[in-house]
Symmetry: C2
Subunit: 198 residues, 2 copies
DNA sequence: CTATATATGTACTGATCGGTATGGTATTTG
DNA sequence: CAAATACCATACCGATCAGTACATATATAG
């Protein structure tokens, strides 16, 4: 009874989702058509709809995958560093590398997936905005912990520091989308660290 | 003979262009439809085409206007400051204010107009990329002059410094598009200045 | 085997996209 | 006045958009 009834699917849904992720990452939500998606995924329209719902749901699933395994993962790893400075150092470095990974499109899906859009895609835009906020919030909480532990100065403002670091990473996304090199971004990361207190 | 022959135009082309600019600014190039444009501009399609060519030319004209009178102007003003530090200080501050001007859409047209897009809008994306580069280049040249004048350290790297400042402003654009407040961005600007040499 | 359930490929839907043909209207020129 | 010119409004163009109806193919369940 473990085997499914009916004709089995002929494609690997995870592999197809990865292909869709690449297209969304490169062209953005609005810039990607269903034809682009089905061609990249190697399946036809009804299969896409049966497996993933619709364009919007497919995007959300691709975004989840991006968060789990793409640059989002590099961000989470950095939060595990023992010191606040180590967190920020590794975060900026990881982001610089991830945004210029030659195996992937340049830049960050959460930034360039739908920074602006028509009314039809408004909910996607807000979803991405929410994800960026969550990443900033996670960093803020990590820095609040560091403050409580005496790891950063007692007069430091974790919210402000987290916003500064987020601003750098988002700026690096725009730079990467515009063709900045990996070394360029690493140097930006190094320079940003000079603003770090202590 | 100075008056035009034929029936005179019934709308103000400059005012209509400003309206178009606001729509592109808010929704991006791909996210803006001709119907959005004609409704905002208060004219109908043939009038738009007669006066501005097509959607792409209209966007370029709106972009020129943005550069002349919008946040782009604030950037040029900053370059006229007498010291390198003054330039960067005023640049970051002006950008923080311009990106959160309550009279305009949040963020920067050159960033969010077409950060990613489908193939049809590729040339617009590249045009915006080029404009961002030009802004960075102008700052770099200003810093090179400052270096020649002994205004910044002889071992400073103007290209790297300019890239750092550009990254901050572009990051602030993403933050503004996501709803960051004016004070938030001013604090980011202040913090970035701590990384400034000397 | 038959019945059922799911996937696939083709070909379609109505809506909207950017762009335009056409015909009526207002203005200047002679 | 009439001719020439350019704008305005409606209504349309083919192409493409996201999404789907339908028939066929392939599997399991009984």
């Amino acid at each position: 009874m473990q085997a499914h009834k009916g004709r089995p699917r002929e494609f690997d849904a995870d592999a197809a989702l990865d292909k869709a992720l690449l297209v969304f990452w490169q062209c953005g939500y609005e810039g990607t058509s269903l034809t682009d998606l089905t061609e990249a995924m190697g399946i036809n329209r009804p299969s896409l709809y049966a497996a993933f719902g619709n364009k919007e749901e497919l995007f959300r699933r691709a975004l989840d995958r991006y968060t789990e395994r793409g640059p989002g993962r590099a961000v989470r790893e950095a939060l595990a560093e023992p010191t606040a400075r180590g967190v920020v150092e590794r975060l900026l470095k990881n982001v610089a590398l991830a945004l210029t990974d030659p195996c992937n499109p340049r830049g960050c899906l959460a930034v360039q997936g739908a920074l602006t859009c028509g009314e039809a895609s408004e909910s996607i835009k807000q979803e991405l905005c929410r994800r960026r906020s969550e990443a900033e919030q996670a960093l803020r909480e990590r820095l609040e912990r560091a403050k409580a532990e005496g790891d950063i100065a007692s007069d430091a403002d974790p919210a402000q520091l987290a916003r500064f670091v987020s601003t750098i990473t988002q700026g690096m996304s725009v730079q990467a989308a515009g063709g900045a090199s990996r070394d360029d971004l690493v140097r930006v990361a190094d320079m940003a660290l000079k603003a770090w207190p202590g």
